[in-house]
Subunit: 322 residues, 2 copies
């Protein structure tokens, strides 16, 4: 089975005819036609076996998640998903694996309305790099750098589910008949990028980021880019019911702020717009704190007292050096 | 040293201020502003350690080549290089390696006038996936699918140099005081994507492809996409002087048509335009054959007799299955 046959068989069907795709898979490049008056939002993210997913992970889950994490970046800018390219490296031409991978990636693509326009198949240790392109009205994207003192800090959905799933060993376990574990596992393996929420927040929010490395680390990126600080109430972080039932009390805060893999959005917006944003979103939007003029990120308890905590996001290389 | 510090230190400088980059590295996405009336040409390609480059390869060469192979795809469409994203996976946060890699990639980027706008650093087995974006006047890109019977088949530069370098073990050897070996080694490790040639050929050629897997396999893609065949004179394949001096006679044809890694362009154009194309190109353009109505690729010797040969391009998975 050669590379070109595999690509034609499993990936070409993910390139439907579309007015903005002049030429899809099968030439040296794809040819795209962006609309006038729009900026292009582009991002790239890689999943590596053993690092970002379990060696026994299902191929369809890997395909889904590899695309979802990129779509989450588009969502954070309020961009509409348009096109993506996938570079897949795998040790053997395992046709069953490739088929399932393409199905999972295709399901996420269909849900998001994004079109596969290019790719690459190489032999090597299993990893997937995806580059996603979205469109946003020129000059209107949501950035990290525009938060202002007084802004409310809000997050979509719930935090800590994926990190708890990982800690409970649910990444590959078959969690039959336990809806809580099934829910947490799906949160880890099949994240839902908040595309519609990002689109709505683009018009109401001042700054946003997607939560991939954990709230503590990711919010800090907004604070640094905007030259501000924040106070966040640890007791207000939204928890799913499954998380409340299964997360040990002592581990909750760590899982929620440093666990990562949430793929929710953190958005800063004027407090008077929170109610409108919540009404538009169709998923929970929780106000967890506010932006301060004083730099730094401070965690407060339910009584507003400063928590002594050194919580940070996931960093791929931090354990390497002093 | 964390991921974000490394990216800022070594990669942010590759994003110079530019009118078509609304927002560079450092947010969830980069924001680009394509010009009206242009199509976007996009491509992605991966280099894996031990597969596409030697484990002892110099990091600056890896950075150069990872970008060059993508630029070669843009060249084949006649597109102008604009922006690229780099996803780098490496086992340790080896700062010296990352610095050299960024320098090599930066040197290629500067030469091509392309801007780094996004990236990703993960831990895992060493590999680099790059996605490159170029622009081309709407509807005017050079494709694989428009070759016509009677067209001349031409190639730029010389063929087989990189494959010979690999076979002579020059990938990492220090070939001091031997200009032939230095030349071949540079052809392997520092390929020169034919961007200006592609730009000029866009107005004169009917179909083109870049030679990455070897002429035999790559030309076949043009033939299949255009529903035509070709006759190619094996004795007319252009050879460098170093190749002529160092390639064993029995290995020459194989190295030239099945070796791969040439990153020259193969272009089909009306025979009456060959002279004009040659004059414009500033590098050798050799007519090696012509397109036929009869399908299939036939190799002829100097007397025009059919060569009995089963030569094909490099295929990443062919050795896996029957």
């Amino acid at each position: 089975m050669d590379e070109f046959v595999l690509i034609r068989r499993y990936f070409q069907s993910l390139t439907p005819a579309s007015a903005d795709v002049v030429l899809g898979i099968g030439d040296d490049c794809a040819l795209l036609r962006p609309a006038a008056g729009e900026d292009l939002a582009v991002t790239t993210d890689t999943l590596v076996e053993g690092r970002h997913f379990h060696p026994q992970a299902r191929a369809d889950d890997v395909g889904w998640k590899a695309l979802a994490v990129n779509l989450s970046d588009l969502a954070a800018m309020g961009a509409r998903p348009r096109w993506f390219l996938a570079a897949l490296t795998l040790p053997h031409a395992d046709e069953g694996w490739i088929k399932a991978f393409a199905e999972g990636m295709g399901a996420m693509a269909a849900q998001a309305g994004i079109t596969l326009v290019g790719g690459n198949l190489s032999r090597g240790p299993l990893s997937v790099s995806i580059t996603a392109l979205g469109s946003v009205p020129a000059g209107k994207a949501l950035r990290r750098s525009c938060a202002k003192p007084g802004d409310a800090v809000c997050v979509t959905g719930t935090l800590g589910d994926a990190a708890l799933a990982l800690e409970l060993g649910l990444a590959v376990e078959c969690a039959r008949f336990d809806p809580d574990r099934e829910f947490l596992k799906a949160r880890l393996n099949r994240p839902q990028p908040r595309i519609a929420a990002g689109h709505n927040l683009r018009l109401l929010g001042r700054a946003a980021i997607d939560l991939s490395d954990g709230l503590a680390g990711d919010l800090r990126h907004i604070l640094e880019a905007s030259w501000v600080g924040a106070e966040v109430r640890a007791d207000r972080l939204p928890m799913s019911e499954a998380f409340q039932r299964l997360a040990p009390a002592a581990a909750r805060l760590r899982l929620q702020v440093a666990g990562g893999d949430d793929y929710e959005l953190c958005v800063c917006l004027p407090p008077e717009r929170v109610a409108e944003a919540r009404a538009k979103l169709g998923l929970p939007l929780t106000e967890i704190g506010h932006i301060t003029r004083e730099p730094g990120l401070r965690w407060l308890d339910a009584d507003g007292r400063l928590l002594e905590t050194e919580l940070s996001g996931y960093d791929h290389f931090r354990d390497d050096t002093a």
